[in-house]
Assembly symmetry: D2
């Protein structure tokens, strides 16, 4: 469904970028999970705008309120309502874009789909919608951590042409990621990445990047063949994020260049489980987790809204020179880190619950 | 759901590789669509094994029967049952694999998930399951063609290290694709691609590849934000195919290296609609089609089952040397062409139907 | 899903009786529908507690806020967030019920299901949850009215042993219904009904009743065989309301006593459509609307929470005498009227949208 | 969805009454359940036509084939394909009904919905569609029996004006039910019931009836508030059966005449669980099972197709005298017994699986 993700652990989001606020309803969370706003706020803080000079200057504290589903610090089993008010809205910034759709933005397609659109700031297509996902993801993560000690860590592996392969998915921590402002977890790469972002910003331009993500501790057996393969659901979740253009699991596109004898992950005993020597599979085979770390990459295009003048056409087809206002990120990947983690968590917890059926008869 | 794809135009598949057969139930097809087996068989013929020496020698005619939902050559509005019997099964080929999971195959994960698995040929994880998808996709395609003259064409754009960018998505036809045995649509690339496949086959090895796909004629407005963005659903559909490792829409991973000013598709009047000069967006913005061709790429890894001996471990963790039997493709991309087309069609027709709501009030 | 109703026009509700408030998210509403809080409030006013001396004295104004999905008085196509704050909560009333589950109430089953429950007022099982349904239903009704002039009218056809069959489903209006405080639309029956409620109230007891509902103007063709027959979905919707114990469509249980020759609704030309002389079918045949008025009845048991002392057992199994506090309706049917109408509207609009597929190819 | 029932244990049915056959796909069944056709056939035999002189003379053996999902006598976790061929079809019986819709039958509404319909025998609206439900239900029952020893027993509690309340839901067995040809489980009522059916049959007429059903052994805690209350799902399932007009849980419509003090089921310790003295609730409170037997009643109207001449109109609105051919049951309730049991089982197993989430964290 358009605004609902998940089969039995679901999140439904609502709210526009420049309306009253954005919210989410999380349904299917088991009862008796200890939960307060303090479990959710840290990931929202990592996502919020204005946190440093690499991001949009829009200033939002993004403090979340739990509206329902929790009493005395534990979940009740009922839907968890979550809400974050919008505060620093500036609809007036968007006056000149009423008649001119921003190139590569959702302005045009929303207008074509609905015959109307929010008058400012992208409305529902804004990355502000992801607040509900991050809040819901924090709940999913808490469940996953309690379940198997599962850890999900995302990091920036490329900004523009600056790429790093120095991060070890087996070991990287969120603390290491956050130790670099650009969230790449590897100091020597952080500087040129930040430089690339600042250069784009100075030029009133924007730049793309890649987010990598690892899920450690996922047991073998999660994911539902045929149509709900684990990698299919992860791809769906990631490509549902604004500005994404690609998804890879394990070896990805590079793996297509290998022969089977090179690509196959041969099995080997690892402690009390069967593991694999290599992990080109990215932790998933046949749509089902195999116990190795799940590793994926997500491509984010450069943001469409840029300050420099762009030659384009208005809705009537007349050529115009557009100078977009509004406050926007020159590069989305640093703030996308907690969002990617949230999406991974939301997919995994639903798969965990679906796998419970196999234990139905004990 | 595991075996069902779609929201209101749905396909449910069933059947194992070496069981009685494979089938599908297509629900939500409007009544009064002219339909016979002859509408479905051509895409199955393009998918079937044994069609030439690039594919597995397993010999299946894959003749489809319509079991329900059609009378006097037109659909009734009721679910369309489809069935293809298995004929050339050889369970005995799989004797030595009972205790040894094939590296990078689903043998291990199915066993871990279910505690049991089909004793031969991958069972449900086999590409044979895709027969139901291709059959359903042919019905979806017929609807799409009648609706807007929509054309979907996929082609092989890479085999191993051999890549071609010479195919024009705006013009390529299925006839051109099929004119090359490897289905790359570009003669000069076909030879080295076929050579790469034959070399892998001769070495008892396998090789990966990339399938590109274009959907032409899709009107602006299809796709449901937020979670059911068109590209998210396409990614889901494609990554639900066996052996896939990556998905790109439009500029994909390469687009992350561009600046916004380079990547943005500036608008321009095109006949009676607003179009764009470039198409880095791949025909989708904000999760909604924009009227330009939808262009995507899907990465297929080299098949896991190879004839050459592989050092690995059995389920008990003991080191063994596995020599896999069974009849398998050295490279899946030539036969994947109609499958990718089917998945695109299944996603698009569901989006078309969901978009009808916007016309509810006329 | 637990907290979501509908296939493509969906409503998701959240919130507990004595928490911050209750809300709903309506997804799938077409864009460009004129909509403000004023479209929604009237049905909430008919539902709200404290409106007269037949209802609970809990005093809630139940003013609804639209949080998202609407701008400048029209819908955007995005999810419509709705919220009503709780004001007159008295958790202290429920102190003595912490250890003693109210007989025939959800206290016991929530505790057994979740291992925890809201400490006061029924939490999620409270009829207060229906606020979100009524708000969503008002939007559905506006669409239905614009679509075919569809009218939905419910009335109280029985309170305890007082029954009326004098109301004509073909003609009854909401104004007539509201002209009687008990909402039975028939003056001579209203007095004894109100007397029955007041007697029960005076005795610290409660009483049950029946709500009848008609949907006029529904065109032939709505409803999806097999599992989503229109009457099946209506039954589901009505039995999802608190305190309901039965559902009838058309002739209902009384129809089982007839012979086919008596029960069959013979066809006859009515203006430009084929209609039926009688309507034992209740406007539905084979799960699909036939163009005649859709007529149903819903049984509501007497409310479980009563003031008089009840011999029962606590959670430990010890016999106790329970004297329940809290403010509760002595009879729910007068306030159930807008709720039943809302549920009917929510089912019908979803069916209307699903039927659009049959017009896909024009 | 139209042809799919269930959330995570699903059944999808297909097939028309006079086509090649009818089938079902059951998805979500756990692996390693011992299963063969012999587990399924007994309930199909209780459902099949021609079993005695109270039923239609159409002669079908209804032998089921498992097409997939089972190997070596155990389930694989993959979808279970089921198929029953049609043998004794007589499309020629329906010649005179091409232009004349049978009164109170689905002929008219299918034509209005789809603009076309199966040329004979009701097509998809035929009770023959329920074969797939009964087959799927047998699998669900086997799971439920293995899970908690749950027993589901339905019986005929009324035929026309002949009613029996002598059957004890706490004790009644299928053997007792089958000991009476009419399946009422109470000898003294069986005779007048059979007489009522035979009289209707002799008069070329039909007669309605009521099926009661009990589910024993269901633990407390099943059912998902708010919209998927257990009684709501049961009502949905039952009203999705052909010819049903009403549903009651527990006290049903009669309960509306009681006061709360009479209706409330006071709690009492029963062995190691808290039970209730009475069971007006029918085993469900707040949408969740409470551990007492779940008791429901389903109203079946007299079959629409009767042999006696009926004054009606053709599709053009012209008055005609219809003499229907075809072979039909004079009363459906004896054969509805296994169907009602199947629907109850399908709902319960899905609820059982959904409840597993509450044990996620141990």
């Amino acid at each position: 469904m358009a605004s609902t993700l998940g089969t039995i652990f679901t999140v439904t989001t609502y709210g526009e970028s420049h309306g009253k606020g954005v919210g989410a309803v999380v349904d299917g969370c088991p009862a008796r999970l200890p939960l307060t706003e303090a479990d959710i706020q840290p990931q929202l803080d990592r996502r919020r705008p204005g946190q440093n000079n690499l991001t949009t200057p829009r200033d939002e504290s993004d403090k979340v309120s739990i509206l329902s589903g929790v009493e005395n610090g534990v979940t009740l089993g009922s839907p968890i309502g979550l809400f974050v008010a919008n505060r620093d809205t500036r609809p007036s910034d968007y006056g000149n874009m009423r008649d001119v759709p921003r190139p590569s933005h959702a302005d045009f397609t929303y207008q074509m789909k609905y015959g109307v659109r929010a008058s400012s700031g992208g409305g529902r297509s804004s990355a502000r919608e992801t607040i509900g996902r991050v809040a819901a993801g924090a709940i999913a993560e808490k469940l996953l951590h309690g379940l198997h000690g599962i850890e999900i860590v995302a990091w920036v592996s490329a900004v523009g042409n600056v790429e790093t392969t120095a991060v070890d998915p087996a070991l990287v921590t969120r603390a290491e990621v956050d130790a670099t402002m650009v969230r790449c977890a590897y100091g020597p790469a952080a500087e040129p990445m930040m430089a690339a972002i600042r250069e784009a910003k100075a030029a009133n331009d924007s730049v793309g990047g890649v987010v990598s993500c690892v899920c450690r501790g996922v047991p073998a057996g999660w994911g539902e063949p045929v149509f709900d393969k684990l990698e299919a659901r992860l791809a769906h979740a990631m490509l549902s994020l604004p500005a994404t253009k690609g998804f890879e699991i394990g070896s990805g596109f590079a793996g297509t260049r290998l022969r089977g004898s090179e690509h196959n992950d041969r099995f080997v005993q690892k402690g009390d489980r069967l593991g694999s020597v290599t992990n080109h599979s990215g932790g998933i085979q046949g749509g089902i987790s195999n116990g190795e770390p799940i590793i994926m990459r997500v491509a984010f295009k450069p943001p469409a809204t840029i300050g420099m003048p762009q030659q384009t056409a208005d809705f009537e087809g007349h050529e115009v020179l557009l100078e977009a206002k509004g406050r926007h990120d020159p590069c989305v990947v640093p703030r996308a880190i907690p969002i990617v983690e949230a999406m991974a968590a939301l997919v995994l917890i639903d798969c965990a619950m679906l796998q419970q059926r196999q234990q139905l008869l004990g």
